[in-house]
């Protein structure tokens, strides 16, 4: 169902992220939709702008002991610990499945040292193709997962981040390279700048906020990992602010698109992120409660543009700074 604008035209929802043209700006966030196939019984994945896989690491990872996830007011606190099948099984089993889903896919890559990142990115890029708009179109670099003890440094230190992105950039030639920024920094414009100087095609932001919850009966942290990352509606205003800050101070002039995320559960939230400066958005936590959320957002966006007589979704980007 496509709404038409005042002139009777269907608004153009397609957006450009690096070399890939997405049919609409609504993606889903890493870790919330597995490798995609899990959601196939519930939704038509080909309607999504695309999705981002859970993190892939060089070796398989069992992840953290339970509890791995607890609910907090307005969101979730999780410390899964990058549980995943590892690069070899990902390439052999998951890639063929992903290719058949009819939507654009970003493979999220995480690592513990530069060599691991480079190795995984090289392999994943060998099956990526940004020019076709579906299947694996790019890589999202997880430099900010706050769950794994030594994973934090890449995303919080601009010099190390730039070094990492440069090294990976040299390997990623077929797919789009997206760098996912951590909000757990003093100045996010510094890490955004470092990622762009390292060669990122786009920024996705933000990853989860570091958080903790304690059981007042047992006096123990609720998560086995002690702390984790907070997602969901609770973090939305902070995420919108960070997206806007990076867009205004860094990304706008650099011409680098932002994929905005953090607590999005309706088209209104998506519009807000785009007005702050995001070119595309990603739905995460809300998918758990309702897998239809991305489709509802796509329909809502289209209707919103039509009502306002806007011909394309790109007209929203950074709109909160537009003249009169």
């Amino acid at each position: 169902m496509n709404a038409k604008n005042k002139r009777g035209n269907v608004p153009d929802l397609s957006v450009q992220i690096g070399n890939v043209r997405l049919k609409n700006p609504v993606l889903t966030a890493s870790g919330t939709c597995g490798y995609g196939r899990e959601y196939a019984p519930y939704v038509d994945l080909s309607r999504w702008g695309g999705f981002t896989t859970k993190s892939v690491t060089a070796e398989p990872r069992a992840g953290n002991p339970p509890e791995r996830l607890v609910e907090v007011t307005g969101g979730l606190l999780n410390a899964i610990g990058l549980a995943n099948v590892g690069l070899e099984r990902f390439m052999a089993e998951k890639v063929p499945e992903i290719e058949g889903l009819g939507t654009a896919v970003f493979v999220n890559v995480a690592g513990h040292c530069l060599d691991d990142y480079v190795k995984v990115c090289r392999r994943v890029d060998s099956v990526a193709d940004a020019s076709r708009g579906e299947g694996i179109v790019g890589i999202e670099l997880n430099v900010s997962c706050p769950n794994v003890a030594d994973g934090l440094q890449f995303g919080t230190d601009p010099a190390r981040l730039r070094e990492l992105v440069s090294a990976v950039r040299a390997e990623v030639t077929r797919g789009v390279l997206v760098v996912k920024l951590s909000p757990n920094v003093t100045d996010i414009t510094a890490t955004a700048r470092a990622a762009i100087m390292g060669g990122a095609d786009a920024l996705s932001m933000v990853n989860t906020f570091a958080g903790m919850a304690i059981d007042i009966e047992t006096w123990r942290p609720k998560l086995a990992n002690r702390s984790g990352g907070v997602s969901g509606p609770a973090i939305k205003p902070m995420a919108v602010h960070l997206v806007h800050q990076v867009w205004r101070d860094v990304a706008r002039d650099a011409g680098v698109p932002i994929i905005g995320m953090g607590g999005i559960r309706s088209w209104r939230d998506a519009v807000e992120f785009m007005l702050a400066g995001a070119t595309a958005v990603a739905v995460g936590t809300a998918l758990f409660a309702d897998p239809r959320t991305p489709e509802q957002i796509i329909e809502g966006l289209s209707a919103y543009l039509s009502e306002r007589g806007l011909s394309s979704v790109g007209g929203l980007v950074g709109g909160c700074e537009a003249e009169g």
């Binding site: 519930y42 339970p66 999780n78 899964i80 969901g232 309706s266 758990f288 409660a289 509802q296």
Partner: protein, 304 residues
């Protein structure tokens, strides 16, 4: 989406919610539903309350938006089908904002459910015997399983346990034996010919003791344990004891487990359970309660 047909109080704490839903897929006992235990989020108005379109706090106390985002898993406690619809039962006990919300629903209200999900109990071979063991709210899938097994010609007995008499989520139609004898005392099971032993921690109904005390007594009397399968649902400590007792006696058992779940469909990787795996150095690997279970064989689970 389900439409609430009725709410039925089972005891001091437990209630049964029955709703009808169109196009409900085939389901087996042990499978679960992911239930939205709060008013659905509505794009137009934010949070929408079930019976009216007002926003904000509902007049029914305790029904403000609890600020929760996730669904909650509930065992399916029964499914009856007619031509177009299925009537589905859920069992709950008020323990927090979500179950308080469920308790507030009245006939006509809508309930947002996803499922059935997960893997349920397996059916034993014909002429097999089964012992059903239910602890507290773990009764939910057990009554329905008993119906299914009985209908399939499996000879069943049951143990139904609770802390005290008025926390038993079943209808007692005849005073249960204080000596742990299996009798036709629980209506839901007597209807399908299943004799039940009731145990309570305080001895206020049936045998005084835990479900596993009752089970010990049952197994001592059972002359046919090689053909027996034990099906259990209840607190984790009970399931562990059931698995250990069955392991010692070489009896097959299946356990319906529970874990905190994020998605219920195998993507979020939060509801992990240690499963025996000889190929790993530790002798176990993490399985997912939602997708690999929630029903596991007793000898699969590695207790932490």
């Amino acid at each position: 989406m389900g439409r609430i047909l009725r709410r039925h109080e089972l005891c001091r704490a437990h209630f049964e919610l029955t709703f009808e839903v169109e196009g409900f897929p085939a389901a087996v006992p042990g499978q679960f539903l992911q239930v939205l235990c709060r008013p659905p989020f509505d794009d137009r108005v934010g949070v929408r309350f079930p019976n009216n379109n007002q926003t904000g706090t509902d007049s029914r106390s305790g029904c403000e938006d609890p600020g929760s985002v996730l669904r909650r898993p509930f065992s399916i406690a029964g499914v009856r089908r007619n031509r177009t619809c299925a009537e589905v039962d859920l069992l709950a006990r008020v323990v927090g904002a979500g179950t308080l919300y469920l308790a507030s629903l009245v006939p006509g209200d809508m309930l947002d459910v996803m499922g059935p999900m997960g893997r349920g109990f397996s059916m034993p071979k014909p002429r097999a015997r089964a012992l059903l063991v239910a602890g507290g709210v773990g009764w939910a899938p057990i009554g329905w399983l008993g119906e299914r097994l009985s209908t399939a010609g499996v000879t069943c007995d049951a143990i139904c346990a609770a802390a005290t008499r008025d926390l038993l989520p079943v209808s007692i139609i005849k005073e249960p034996s204080p000596d742990g004898e299996n009798t036709l005392c629980v209506d839901e099971l007597a209807r399908v010919g299943i004799r039940t032993m009731v145990t309570t921690d305080d001895g206020s109904c049936g045998l005084q003791g835990l479900a596993t005390d009752g089970m010990k007594r049952y197994l001592a009397m059972c002359d046919d344990s090689p053909s027996l399968t034990v099906y259990a649902c209840g607190p984790s400590a009970m399931l562990r004891a059931v698995a250990s007792m069955c392991g010692d006696s070489g009896i097959r058992c299946e356990l319906a487990m529970e874990r905190m779940m994020g998605c219920g469909m195998g993507t979020c990787q939060s509801c992990v359970i240690r499963l025996a795996d000889d190929s790993s150095a530790e002798g176990w690997r993490y399985g997912l309660c939602c997708a690999d279970g929630p029903v596991f064989r007793g000898d699969q689970v590695v207790w932490g």
